[in-house]
Amino acid sequence: MAMEDARGAVGDYDMGWHDPEHSTIRFDSGLSEEVVRNISSIKNEPAWMTEVRVKAYHHFIERAMPGFGDTKALEGIKFDEVCYYLRSSDATEKDWDDVPDDIRNTFDRLGIPDAEQKWLSGVTAQYESEAVYHSIREDLEAQGVIFLDMDSGLREFPDLVKEYFCSVIPYQDNKFSALNTAVWSGGSFIYVPKGVKVEMPVQAYFRINAKNMGQFERTLIIADEGSSIHYVEGCTAPTYSTDSLHSAVVELIALDGAHIRYSTIQNWSANVYNLVTKRGIAHKDASIEWIDGNIGSKLTMKYPSVILKGEGSHAEVISIAYAGKGQHQDAGAKVHHLASNTTSKILSKSISKDGGRGSYRGMVTVSPKAENCKLNVVCDALILDDQSQTDTYPTMEVANSSARCEHEASVSKVSDDQVFYLMSRGHSEEEALAMIVNGFFEPFTRELPMEYAVELNKLMALEMEGSIG
């Protein structure tokens, strides 16, 4: 398919360029136990990790596809055509100048080195299967903060990784957590020592470059007692007419009184399947927040979850999803209240346009022993035209009558009068739509670091361009 055709199919996407593929190691497409063992062996992993990978692989083979979400699109994934491991650079560099030129240019265009200088505590840049760049501010390192790519984490802190790996999301959780556990590569490993508060966010950026690529990063964040960290994740990929697969697993552990905020802006091109499992455990008085933005991809299925295990812990999941032409965003949140006096807040906002489909899928449970829990769920959908679709699947299972539950849902359309009102103030129809859309996402945007908020607003304004028929 010519590039123009691909663009016609996915709409204009600003991050859709690609570099010539250059690999130092590229596995043949397809998956087998041998592939899994090979990944583990080129990484010189300890035997226990190889074993977990192999078990997970067999579970993946046997496990059925999820029976919810876009089951038809899921059937379309050609696992045999995916490349499961591709290394483009033999080392993870600490200096951008040492990163191969092509790759360095890509991250320059994405603005990563610039952002790092201005306002980040540390950066990991992953290209295909491996981190190509990694750095952390010295003062944080001196305080004992560990911020590594996951492979280095396993090499340097095997005991810590062994203790927590698969502890929040076992490989048996679902078909894609099994797949990730079998073939994972890259991702971030973070440990924040007791009482250390990391003021500026750390960021990981995931870039797929090659065709038919599968990216399976694995992230593990452990915030020790009373510590806090804000982790930001961004992702983009080139526009191809064939599909890529992104299937990550993210595990968060917030020990007593710790605070983890995990922000994502997923802006995959519209040929990427984005099937991600994200879950955190909050111990006593800890809090975990997922700020989750889903703009791109062909199909996203992602439900960031929090297990409120310790008394007084708090969960917050604020998400947006934008479903444009040919896109299905099946996103939402899950919170399990296992302890007393725990609180949760879920805010989900979706926009569908040009035939896109946005689905909210959520679950909140309160266990019988959990007293005085507070739950608040709000999901709002905005539909921009008659071809587009939204649906909501909220579930609440409350087994303790002392819980206070609030649930609100709304579906709205952009009205002609709203657009006319803004136009009468000198704004073109596209600008008016962008104002309405960015306003709708504002409760999400205001949670982002300023630089991201500005970028997101620009991105949505771009999405509204050329949309007036």
């Binding site: 006319f420 009102y421 009468s424 103030r425 073109s428 129809e429 104002m435 306003g439």
Partner: protein
């Protein structure tokens, strides 16, 4: 001012007279801010306005009065450029420039402003941000920036009794009826249009509210080259914003025009006595 030069060319010897004569001569020749000629407008095939004529000169305030359903809001929306209203014939021009081919946002940038009867809420769009963007898009190069913008914003907000906390609220979201109207007038003051159309700005306002918005309208229009068209079915607001001309709209036609006294007459007699005139006009 062209006229004054040509007068000077003719060698007038008394400079004090020159100024006086200039005013007399220039006034009638000044192009109307708004000129509507034989305007026929329909919606979904039904004609609502059956041939309207109206000229508003610079600095003039006109009022269109009429009952609900007489076509007042149709007139306002059509001048602003609402796409639902089809112009079947006639013309609308702003300072001599045809508006009909322009979209609403282009008309706004040319200097047309509409204070809405029912201003729309835009949740998540902050008032401060919206005002800055609107002023920038409409006034372009002339737009005040930075501290100058904040200063003009501050004084306009004081004029219409809007507290600073308003700036972080969302546009018309959860506003009371009175707040919405005051916010419309705030926009009028900041955008400094050439033509301000005020559609039922007084409806739903108590007497204090009317006084506040009237103050804003007077501040924006009086002493400027702009024109205003006040659309209302009560004469209350016209006690505070004195119109130069009053027109009565019945069933899509202007059946009577007059000075400010016509508003008082309508207040006393209602519209019925004019309805027969409308029929005669058929």
């Amino acid at each position: 001012m062209l006229c004054s030069i040509s007068w000077a060319d003719k060698g007038v010897e008394k400079p004090w007279l020159q100024g006086w004569l200039t005013r007399v001569i220039v006034m009638p020749e000044k192009e109307p801010v708004l000129s509507i000629k034989d305007l026929r407008v329909g919606i979904e095939g039904n004609e609502i306005l059956h041939g309207i004529n109206l000229d508003i000169a610079p600095g003039e305030i006109h009022a269109i009065m009429g009952r609900n359903g007489s076509g007042k809001t149709t007139a306002a929306s059509t001048i602003m450029g609402h796409p639902d209203y089809e112009v079947n014939s006639g013309s609308i021009s702003l300072n001599g420039e045809d508006l009909l081919e322009l979209e609403a946002w282009e008309r706004a940038r040319k200097g047309v402003f509409l204070s809405f009867q029912y201003p729309q809420a835009v949740p998540g769009l902050q008032v401060g941000h919206f005002l800055r963007k609107s002023v920038a898009s409409i006034r372009g190069e002339d737009a005040a920036k930075g501290p100058a913008f904040r200063q003009s914003l501050k004084s306009a907000m004081e004029e219409v009794s809007i507290p600073r906390t308003f700036l972080s609220r969302y546009v018309n979201d959860g506003f009371s009826g009175g707040e919405k109207k005051r916010f419309e007038i705030l926009q009028l003051m900041l955008l400094q249009p050439k033509l301000a159309i005020l559609d039922e700005t007084d409806s739903g306002l108590d007497i204090d509210g009317i006084r506040v918005v009237s103050r804003g309208i007077n501040a924006a229009i009086r002493g400027s080259d702009s024109g205003a068209l006040i659309i209302t079915h009560y004469s209350r607001i016209l006690e505070h914003v004195k119109p130069d001309h009053v027109h009565v709209l019945i069933e899509g036609k202007i059946v009577k025009s007059g000075g400010p006294d016509l508003a008082l007459e309508l207040e006393e007699k209602g519209y019925e006595w004019l309805e027969s005139e409308a029929e005669i006009g058929e």
